[in-house]
C-alpha cells in the first residue's frame, strides 16, 4: 500500500471518530471493517494481507451474528459473556512504569520466588530498561548467528513486509480462518507474533525464544505465529516464560501454525503463566488458543510440550495433522488449575499418512477449586495403514474442592491401527504427604516434590533451562493450596 492510500484511509478513519492526534495510536473499542482497515494500514500491510483479514472478519461476523461462539468446552463455572464491541483491537503501547517502585509489589514478590535476576525483573515488569538490560545487543548477536544459517526469525509484521511470498503461501494453510470462531477473530485482527523459517537441511543452532525477540513485549492479545521447517531441518521454539505476565486485556485468542516438510522436525515448548484471577474467579485471562502443526512431509515430526499454569480459562488443543508417511506427532502437557481456574485442554492427532505415529502424555493437576479437563481426539483415517497411537492421561487432585475430567474421542477407520489408552486419577495421598513430613520435608515442599514426580515424563521433554523453571513455577503456583 502506498502513502497516499494510507493517508486516504486515515482521512476516512477520522470521519468515523478516531482519536485525532497527528500520530494516531489507537482505535476506539469495537470491531468493524473500518477497524480492520485501520489495523492493516497502521502496520503498512500489502493489499493481500488486508483482504485476507477482511475475509476472516466477514466469516467471524456471520458466526457471531448467528450466535456461534463455541460453548462446548467443559467449564463448570462458566464465564461472563464477552463483549466484542468493548475491546480495543489496536492499542498503543501502555505508559511504561519508570521504575520498579511503580510495579505491583505482589508481582515483584513472585519474580523473586522464581529467582529471576533483578535486571530481568525490570524488563518483565515492563519498566523501560534500554540503558540497563541491553536486550538490543543480545538480540543483535542472536540475529547475526541465525542469518549465517539462513534462518529467518522475526516478528510477524516484519515477515509480512519482507517475506511476503512465504507468509502468503503458508498463512492459514494449517489453521484456516474458518476453523473456529476464535481463529477467525484472530485472523481478522491479529496484532503481531513470530515468524520462523528454517531452510532445507539446516539444524537451528539454538533454542528460539520469544524472550529474545526485540519487539516481543507488545505482541498483544491476538498473537499469531507461523513456523516453517523446510526439508530436513530442525528447530526448537520456546514460547512464554515462567514469569507471570500481567495484561489488562482479558481475552487472548492466539493462533499458531507449524509446517514440517520432508524429514523436518519442529519442537514447540510453551510455558503459559498469564494472570489466573483471584480466588473468587475475578479477573484473569481468557486464553482461547488454536495451535496446530501439519506434518506435511514424509518422516516429519512435530512435538508439542506445554506447561499451562495461568489464565482464568484455558481452551487449547495443540494438534498434529500427520499427513506425510511415517510422520510423528507428540503432545506432552502439564496443566495446573488452582484458585478458580478452568482449563479445557488436550490435543488432536489426525493420522492420514501410512505408518504415522502419535504419542499423547497429559498430566492434569487440580488444586483449590480448579477444574481441569483433558479433551483429546485421535483419528485414524482410511488410508493411514499401520498407524499407532499411545495415550496416557493422568489426573492428580489436591484437596476436595477441585475437579478432573477426561473426554477422550477415538475414531478409527483403518483396521491395521494400533491404539493404546491409559488413564488414571489419583489424589495426593495423605500417606505420601505424611511419609515426606516424617522425613523432615515440610508440607509445601512435599507437595512440590510429589507434583514434580507426577509431571516428570513431561518435564523431561522440555529444554533443560525451561524444565528447571517449570518445576519452580509449579511450586509457586501451588503455594497456599494446602493447609
Amino acid at each position: 500500500m502506498n502513502t497516499p492510500e494510507i493517508e486516504a484511509l486515515a482521512q476516512r478513519e477520522y470521519k468515523y471518530g478516531f482519536v485525532t492526534e497527528i500520530e494516531q495510536e489507537f482505535a476506539p473499542p469495537g470491531l468493524s471493517e473500518e477497524i480492520i482497515r485501520f489495523i492493516s494500514a497502521k502496520k503498512g500491510e500489502p493489499d493481500w494481507m488486508l483482504e485476507w483479514r477482511l475475509r476472516a472478519y466477514r466469516y467471524w461476523k456471520e458466526q457471531y451474528e448467528a450466535g456461534k461462539e463455541p460453548q462446548w468446552a467443559f467449564l463448570p463455572y462458566g464465564y461472563g459473556p464477552i463483549d466484542y464491541q468493548a475491546i480495543s483491537y489496536y492499542a498503543a503501547p501502555k505508559q511504561r512504569p519508570e521504575s520498579l517502585d511503580e510495579v505491583d509489589p505482589e508481582l515483584l514478590a513472585t519474580y523473586e520466588k522464581l529467582g529471576i535476576p533483578l535486571e530481568e525483573r525490570k524488563w518483565l515488569a515492563g519498566v523501560a530498561v534500554d540503558a540497563v538490560f541491553d536486550s538490543v545487543s543480545v538480540a543483535t548477536t542472536f540475529k547475526a548467528e541465525l542469518e549465517k544459517h539462513g534462518i529467518i526469525f522475526c516478528s510477524f509484521s516484519e515477515a509480512v513486509r519482507d517475506h511476503a511470498e512465504l507468509v502468503q503461501e503458508y498463512i492459514g494453510s494449517v489453521v484456516p480462518h474458518t476453523d473456529n470462531f476464535f481463529a477467525a477473530l484472530n485472523s481478522a485482527v491479529f496484532s503481531d507474533g513470530s515468524f520462523v523459517y528454517v531452510p532445507k537441511g539446516v539444524r537451528c543452532p539454538m533454542e528460539l525464544s520469544t524472550y529474545f525477540r526485540i519487539n516481543a513485549a507488545q505482541t498483544g492479545q491476538f498473537e499469531r505465529t507461523l513456523i516453517i521447517a523446510d526439508e530436513g531441518s530442525y528447530v526448537s521454539y520456546m514460547e512464554g516464560c515462567t514469569a507471570p505476565m500481567r495484561d489488562e486485556n482479558q481475552l487472548h485468542a492466539a493462533v499458531v501454525e507449524l509446517v514440517a516438510l520432508d524429514d523436518a522436525t519442529i519442537k514447540y515448548s510453551t510455558i503459559q503463566n498469564w494472570y489466573p484471577g483471584d480466588e473468587e474467579g475475578h479477573g484473569g485471562i481468557y486464553n482461547f488458543v488454536t495451535k496446530r502443526g501439519a506434518c506435511r512431509g514424509a518422516r516429519s515430526k512435530i512435538s508439542w510440550t506445554q506447561v499451562e499454569t495461568g489464565s482464568a480459562i484455558t481452551w487449547k488443543y495443540p494438534s498434529c495433522i500427520l499427513q506425510g508417511d511415517n510422520s510423528v506427532g507428540e503432545f506432552y502437557s502439564v496443566a495446573l488449575t488452582n484458585l478458580r481456574q478452568q482449563a479445557d485442554t488436550g490435543t488432536k492427532m489426525i493420522h492420514i499418512g501410512k505408518n504415522t505415529k502419535s504419542t499423547i502424555v497429559s498430566k492434569g493437576i487440580s488444586a483449590g477449586r480448579g477444574q481441569n479437563t483433558y479433551r483429546g481426539m485421535v483419528k485414524i483415517m482410511k488410508g493411514a495403514e499401520h498407524a499407532r497411537n499411545y495415550t496416557q492421561c493422568d489426573s492428580l487432585l489436591i484437596g476436595d474442592k477441585c475437579g478432573a475430567h477426561t473426554f477422550p474421542y477415538i475414531e478409527v477407520k483403518n483396521r491395521t491401527a494400533k491404539m493404546e489408552h491409559e488413564a488414571s486419577t489419583s489424589k495426593i495421598g495423605e500417606d505420601q504427604m505424611f511419609y515426606c513430613q516424617q522425613r523432615g520435608i515440610g508440607m509445601e515442599d512435599a507437595i512440590s516434590l510429589i507434583v514434580a514426580g507426577f509431571c516428570k515424563e513431561v518435564f523431561r521433554e522440555l529444554p533443560m533451562e525451561f524444565a528447571v523453571e517449570a518445576q519452580k513455577l509449579l511450586s509457586v503456583s501451588l503455594e497456599g493450596s494446602v493447609g
Partner: protein, 255 residues
C-alpha cells in the same frame, strides 16, 4: 529421652491406647511386643504425628518437650524417625532427590550447611554400601516397584542417612526373609549409641535375636501389661500373649 505418661488415644471414636506409660532413656533399646490390634502401630503413629489419632488424655515428653504439640516435620527435625510398616510409593520422585530434600531440611534445622548434590550422593553411596544393600535402589523412584524386603531395607538406609535421636521401627521385620532380617538388624545395631534410643515394635521374638533389646514391654489391649528384660521375649514366645496378661505368673516381669 522419651516419657509417655498415661497416654489415651482414640481412632474414629474407638479407644485404642488406654493409659500407656513408658520411659526410654538415651542409649536404650526398648522392644514393644503384642498381639494384633493391641495398639502397637497406633503408638508408632502417634509418636510420629500422623493425622487421625486423637489423644484424649496423657502426655508425651521428648527431651523434656511436648512432642504432641509439634508438626510431623518438626519431630523429624528434632530427630524422631519412624521406619514405616508399609512404606508408601511416590512415583516419579527420585530416591536421591527425596532423601537430599529430607537431609537438607534436617541439616538446616540443626544449623548445618546444605549438602550439595554431589556430596549428598557420596554420603548415600557410603551409607548404602555399609548396609550391604545394592545402590541400584538409589536410581529408582521412592519405593516404586520395590519388593517388600527392598522397602524395609530402604527404611533402614534412610535411617542411617538421617541419623535420628529416637528411632521407632514399626514391625520392620514382618515379611522379611532371614537375609533381609539380618541386614535390617545390622543397620540398627550399627547405629546403637549412648546418645540414641530405639523403640522396636514387633510381633515376633525372632527379630530380637538380632537386635538384643535392653527392655521388653508387652502391649495388650492398649496398655503395657508386663515389662522386663530380654528374657521376657523368650517367655512370650513359649507361653503366648494370654500368659503375659495374667498377674505375674512367673515372677520374671516387673509389671
Amino acid at each position: 529421652m522419651l516419657e509417655i505418661k498415661n497416654l489415651h488415644v482414640s481412632v474414629e471414636g474407638k479407644k485404642i491406647l488406654k493409659g500407656l506409660n513408658l520411659t526410654v532413656n538415651a542409649g536404650e533399646v526398648h522392644s514393644i511386643m503384642g498381639p494384633n490390634g493391641s495398639g502397637k502401630s497406633t503408638l508408632a503413629s502417634v509418636l510420629a504425628g500422623r493425622d487421625g489419632y486423637e489423644v484424649t488424655e496423657g502426655q508425651v515428653l521428648y527431651r523434656g518437650e511436648d512432642l504432641l504439640g509439634m508438626a510431623p516435620e518438626e519431630r523429624a527435625h528434632e530427630g524422631v524417625f519412624l521406619a514405616f510398616q508399609y512404606p508408601v510409593e511416590i512415583p516419579g520422585v527420585g530416591s536421591i532427590q527425596f532423601l537430599t530434600a529430607a537431609l537438607n531440611a534436617i541439616r538446616e534445622h540443626r544449623g548445618l550447611e546444605e549438602l550439595d548434590a554431589l556430596d549428598a550422593l557420596k554420603l548415600f553411596k557410603d551409607k548404602i554400601k555399609a548396609l550391604h544393600v545394592s545402590d541400584e535402589l538409589l536410581g529408582r523412584s521412592v519405593n516404586e516397584g520395590f519388593s517388600g524386603g527392598e522397602k524395609k531395607k530402604n527404611e533402614i538406609f534412610q535411617m542411617a542417612v538421617l541419623e535420628p535421636t529416637l528411632a521407632v521401627l514399626d514391625e520392620t521385620d514382618s515379611g522379611l526373609d532371614i537375609d533381609a532380617l539380618r541386614i535390617v538388624a545390622e543397620g540398627v545395631n550399627a547405629l546403637r549409641s549412648p546418645e540414641r534410643a530405639f523403640l522396636v515394635i514387633t510381633h515376633y521374638q525372632r527379630l530380637l535375636s538380632y537386635i538384643v533389646p535392653d527392655f521388653v514391654h508387652v502391649l495388650v489391649n492398649g496398655r503395657i501389661v508386663r515389662s522386663g528384660e530380654k528374657e521376657l521375649a523368650l517367655h512370650l514366645e513359649e507361653y503366648g500373649y494370654a500368659w503375659a496378661g495374667q498377674r505375674d505368673p512367673t515372677g520374671v516381669g516387673s509389671g
